[in-house]
């Protein structure tokens, strides 16, 4: 039986919510539903959330994760919130570049700069 792991961890910095993925690989077959459920639960806690998604642990993801991020992004902006992605591994950043999602998401270098850009309202 597969081990049950926490898929995300949640911290708060200034007025931002920082969600970190805890798995090195996010795969369709085992992880997608639990990741989605966990993040949606965080989003529901605030009507206009300022959310930072921290990818520091993630070394691999598939296009299903990109789809999940787009769904999350739409939901956050519809509710008047803001989203930043940060600490994206170079190999994964390449996936964002190929799909041109670098023009859809606000991608920051690290958590501090992501939180700072939210505070500035940029």
């Amino acid at each position: 039986m597969a081990a049950i792991q926490p898929r995300i961890s949640v911290e708060y910095s200034k007025d931002a919510t920082v969600v970190s993925f805890t798995d090195e690989k996010i795969l369709e077959e085992t992880d997608m539903r639990s990741v989605r459920t966990a993040i949606e639960a965080v989003i529901e806690q605030a009507s206009s959330i300022r959310l930072v998604l921290d990818f520091r642990h993630v070394k691999f993801l598939s296009s299903a994760v990109l789809g999940l991020l787009i769904r999350i992004s739409k939901r956050i902006y519809e509710q008047g919130g803001q989203l930043r992605l940060c600490n994206i591994h170079p190999g994964i950043y390449e996936v964002f570049k190929i799909t041109r999602l670098t023009s859809v998401f606000d991608i920051c270098e690290d958590v501090d700069s992501a939180v700072e850009s939210l505070s500035d309202g940029r």
Binding site: S63, L66, I70, T99, R100
Partner: protein, 150 residues
């Protein structure tokens, strides 16, 4: 030192995403055994995931009675993967470019683009139910950001 004997196998998989876990682990492990780089391993892993999910979801429509046949061969120069589903088939040219216009904001439709971006060869059979992919060892795929879909 990498062995000169090719590593090859054919497996028939159920139409559920978790069916890929074990064969994928074997293929990635074989790539490492053959001295492929971590970039190669990432690329093949991504292409495998995307191709299999396309076969299961869009090909076999998650019908558990239909199978996906995965065939692979890994030697000291390249990895070749063939995947066939039991669906209706499709024409890759009918797939819209996920980077164009509003498609950029759609949650789906990026699998084929990524397969083409990370493999040196990705060719569908004439009936659109089979895919042959090749990646050569330690040879970056050129012009990834400009890869076409057709």
């Amino acid at each position: 030192m990498a062995s000169e004997t090719p590593i090859q196998a054919t497996v028939v998989l159920e139409s559920k995403p978790s069916s890929l876990v074990e064969p994928c682990r074997q293929i990635l492990s074989a790539l490492e055994e053959k001295g492929f780089t971590q970039d190669d391993v990432f690329a093949v892993h991504l292409a495998l995931e995307e191709a299999f999910l396309n076969a299961v979801k869009h090909g076999n429509k998650m019908d558990r009675s239909k199978k996906v046949t995965l065939e692979y061969a890994i030697d000291d120069e390249k990895v070749e993967i063939k995947m066939a589903d039991e669906g209706q088939g499709f024409n890759p040219q009918d797939i819209p470019d996920p980077r164009a216009g509003d498609n950029l904001y759609r949650p789906e439709g990026r699998g084929l683009l990524l397969i083409r971006a990370y493999m040196h060869l990705a060719r569908y059979g004439s009936n659109g139910t089979s895919l042959r992919m090749v990646r050569y060892k330690n040879k970056p795929v050129p012009d990834r950001s400009e890869v076409g879909l057709a």
